[in-house]
Point group: D2
Chain length 346, copies 4
């Protein structure tokens, strides 16, 4: 069977990771990636053997590659003309403009969580609504935070039939490669209360009632969620049963923090580096086993989110949904993750 042809529009922080993850699969392939001009990222694309296109169709911008050692195969339109689906990894606020281009080219499209749900009217997380996205023309893979919340909340909801959640998000203030943003020594509450983060879960799982508060703190590596979830009466669960469910959930890692000396996000990221994915990425949500406790109906737990990478495998599954490659989300997740492991020789 012919592989699905995937374009990456925006070969940056997210784009470069998604490209690798797509490249690892045997039912899809990268037909090209875009950059605005010749820069370090082009070298990576060249090494990988990905065809390089210009983010723009403007001739001057395209010709800016001519003086460099990189071959630019054309503009975005040229790339789209060869693609079945485009994954939009451009920086925020370009969504509306780009969607129009994709539609005009007759190419399906996947946006990232920086765009709003209203752009596509449809959002995606593997575990929540794969089928709802089956065959869709355009959708949005939700943000790293929403993806993280869905991973642990959706299986709980599916078991209980009801869930009221409050999440306090302790967010990294800047990414590891971003040296401009602060604060260096302060805590910054998000003064929009409740924050937009929690309710975004309802774009993929409307049945979960959820609100959130958020603060930014001087760290670069991971977000932490402090979650309180109210289960329905007669839930019949225990802390142990909930841990068992999560231990069987794809893309969730449950580990004892004190026993394994993984008591902060620093050690979680160190463990991720040991796993061996490129960039030291952690696609899984990390739940501290000894930080989970059910008291009556109220469940307390902490989870850590690798903001740069947890959505990467979801983008692969999302291609399968849109292109009708695989109806079962668990089948897709297994394919995706095994292929990525092989790719990085883990």
């Amino acid at each position: 069977m012919a592989r699905v042809k995937v374009a990456i529009n925006g070969y940056g922080t997210i784009g470069k990771r998604v490209a690798d993850a797509i490249d690892a699969q045997n039912d899809m392939e990268i037909v090209g990636v875009t950059k605005t001009g010749p820069s370090f990222g082009c070298e990576m694309a060249a090494k990988k053997g990905f065809d390089l296109y210009c983010t723009s169709d403007d001739k001057d911008m395209i010709s800016s590659f001519e003086d460099s050692r990189f071959v630019c195969k054309g503009g975005l339109k040229d790339l789209l003309s060869k693609s079945d689906v485009v994954i939009d990894c451009s920086p925020g606020k370009m969504g509306a403009t780009n969607l129009k281009k994709y539609q005009e080219a007759g190419v399906k499209s996947i946006f990232q969580g920086g765009e709003k749900h209203s752009l596509t009217g449809l959002s995606y997380t593997s575990c929540a609504n794969h089928l709802e996205n089956f065959g869709a023309e355009t959708t949005r893979v939700v943000s790293c935070n929403t993806t993280g919340l869905s991973r642990t909340l959706v299986p709980l909801y599916d078991l209980c039939g009801s869930l009221k959640v409050e999440c306090t998000m302790i967010r990294r203030a800047a990414d590891p490669g971003d040296s401009n943003k602060g604060p260096i020594n302060a805590i910054k509450p998000v003064l929009k209360v409740p924050s937009h983060h929690g309710p975004d879960v309802m774009t993929v799982k409307p049945e979960i009632e959820i609100n959130s508060l958020a603060v930014a703190v001087p760290t670069t590596i991971m977000h932490v969620h402090a979650i309180i979830a109210d289960l329905p009466e007669n839930h019949g669960l225990t802390t142990e049963k909930i841990l068992d469910i999560w231990k069987g959930t794809p893309r969730v890692i449950v580990m004892n923090g004190q026993g394994n000396r993984i008591t902060t996000t620093a050690e979680v990221m160190e463990m991720a580096r040991d796993i061996g994915r490129k960039w030291g990425d952690l696609h899984e949500i990390f739940v501290w086993e000894d930080g989970v406790r059910l008291i009556g109906n109220r469940l307390y737990y902490f989870q850590a989110i690798h903001q740069e990478s947890d959505v990467i495998p979801e983008n692969v599954d999302c291609v399968r949904a849109l292109m009708k490659l695989e109806q079962s989300w668990t089948e897709s997740v297994t394919k995706t993750d095994q292929a990525i492991s092989r790719y990085y020789n883990i």
Copy 2:
């Protein structure tokens, strides 16, 4: 009327601040402060004119001051013999041993939040239980976090008659003068769930139901609380009314964060330095006006806590309670705060 004679056992981070606050009042006076040996703190005591005693009654330790330029007036026993009440500001875990000494000397005593409630069987916060402490022999001023929670929750409870609270505490990982502790770039969840912080409120206000989760983050200057409080049905309140209550509450500052460009704890601390108390202290709890929102019965808000100093004025009020100087907590608070303002010429 003779002033109440107050001893400070442990002239360190908390002790030096409490000593100043006591010294500022006209119904009590410092009769002496203790240090384990000659060191920088002794100089401060000397400048202030506080008599210096040794934390120990051991002759060798007392004589260690002889070679220095500081005059040591004796051991702890000598100090206690001249005191009506001792404020124990020694580092944690000395409580049981010290309490015995105070009792043997027939001196009333006030411990700090590092000690457990069970040591004294009684705890203190000005706004919660001043009368309960009236004339008591020994008590404990609760921790910075518990004091902060009481300041905003007790007036709410008094109005509503019921309150169920969840608090996520985003804690500074080290104090400003402590350069040994990390983490430098990580978030550390407190894996004891729920954490001990919230429930400690119930030692001063048992009627408030409260739990908490806690994380430590790489900052030194303040804690932030992200609070969710469930009011009873038919509470009759609005966000504005709650803000009005807090604006009229002693030792609570309510300010618009975005309007005043005070969007992080860095700017809160900068404002505190402008106020002009020594050490740049902020005795008040800082509530972001634009971070407060009541949705149905559920109230969301953020507050910032200066961990080094919010309990300082409570210690003064607590002396008045134990020594029966003032029955009304609001009268005591007014006296305390006005005297401190005069002392620092604010």
Copy 3:
């Protein structure tokens, strides 16, 4: 004798500190301070009893104070008409425009280190060139770094008659109240080599040969200088003699780091808070006694600089130089510092 009338143009981070320091003296007085509009700083000015003026002469800007609870006495021109000398503490890049206004008003002026030497053709540090500034019309108090270097290098030069210096400046990346700037977890070299910092010393002491390298690091509280100074042959000095010189130098503190457990800038700042100046300021340069070592002709040492405040007393001395109040720089320094100590009741 009538006090010299001093205006502060720009009542911000530096301006508020200089105003207090001037207010503390008995041979000069604050006739007014400027703000661009009503804001928190106005309240501080009001509490202090400083007359408030608008930074601009624009009627709309002046009238913006009308709706506030602050009384604005007029525009900058009005203030200048009552002043003998103006201390320009406005944010950088306004120098040329402002100097013209001051000259037109016939008022002497003092700029800060954010402006270039070429603006005034004259710079000032108390210990280096007080007499050179005697009676001058306009000058510039050099930056915190240059002031710090002058404090320890000028007395060495005066003793040796020759000095070749290399300084690596490890700079705080943002001020304590600035939560926007990063980096959170990185070191940022200043790629202009050598950096402008060291050579600026030559604007006040041209005889000292000096270059510098600079890096910014994720801390907010102090700069540290790592200094290598080559003395002339036959210098006749020892590490101990150099320490003795600095111990006798005004506005230099020499302390043993390991003996006093002051091994980082965190503990230095904590000591400063104990001293008791407002904002926890440290006007002195801190030299680690056990970090000084002379090997042959080469002297190695570390010093810490409180970037927010070391230039504050220099501004007072500078007023005395321009207004011919005191010919002796050491006399001026003594007056300034004693008055500040009395002001803050230290």
Copy 4:
């Protein structure tokens, strides 16, 4: 030809990296790695297919693996009996004890920079003294800082025949996976002056005169060196020629910081992650092209050091020296680096 049999004693931060680098070569192989007991590291070894041994020969410690899912093949003695050379990656201070064991087993040994030169009387850096180590029984690969200094200074020395160097080392205060160490917001000078770092270069290149000062700062990812090197008179060099030399030097990367938007260590590490070695390692020393400047005889430059990994390829070369596999250091470096690139599919 049979591959050289290499043991790794201590499969931790350095050990796990060295094991991979050895495993990548075709003239040597890993015969086993040691752990003190069953833990996360064992899993990595198992995945890699490395035989696992106990760091100790104590039967109880060896049997502690029995209850785990990991197979322990015996104690250190058992491993040594199968090895030609052991790379000691155990935590510091075990050197003397371990060296005895290695000698008794008749196995050559390589220690790391945490041990002193006096332990082995011989030290190693690929570019400085490969031949001096040829056939040696035991040696020490110098520390990350010394390795970094050697990489850029040795080729300069070889060209000039004389070099006097001062280096200020701005050190990361803790490693990325270490969440206990501070400071969070301070700069910590190393009060031993000069620091031990610079002079350690003379253990591999005694002809270079060098001293250093060091400070620790709140970052986890890289050290930065601010270097001043005095060339001899008549050196005949220019900034450009020096850059050309370094551009042709193995394991040195020279890049324009401003042109490539790599202005801090954060962006350097991000570039390293893009390269694709496991753990995001950067074996190369990073020199900012626009931070290099030769003024007269004095050369100024900045370089960044990845403290976790720059010594990794040196350990491979060092095996070749001790085992007489390759006389030419440049040949060895090329073999090592090409094999590592293939291993990680870069």
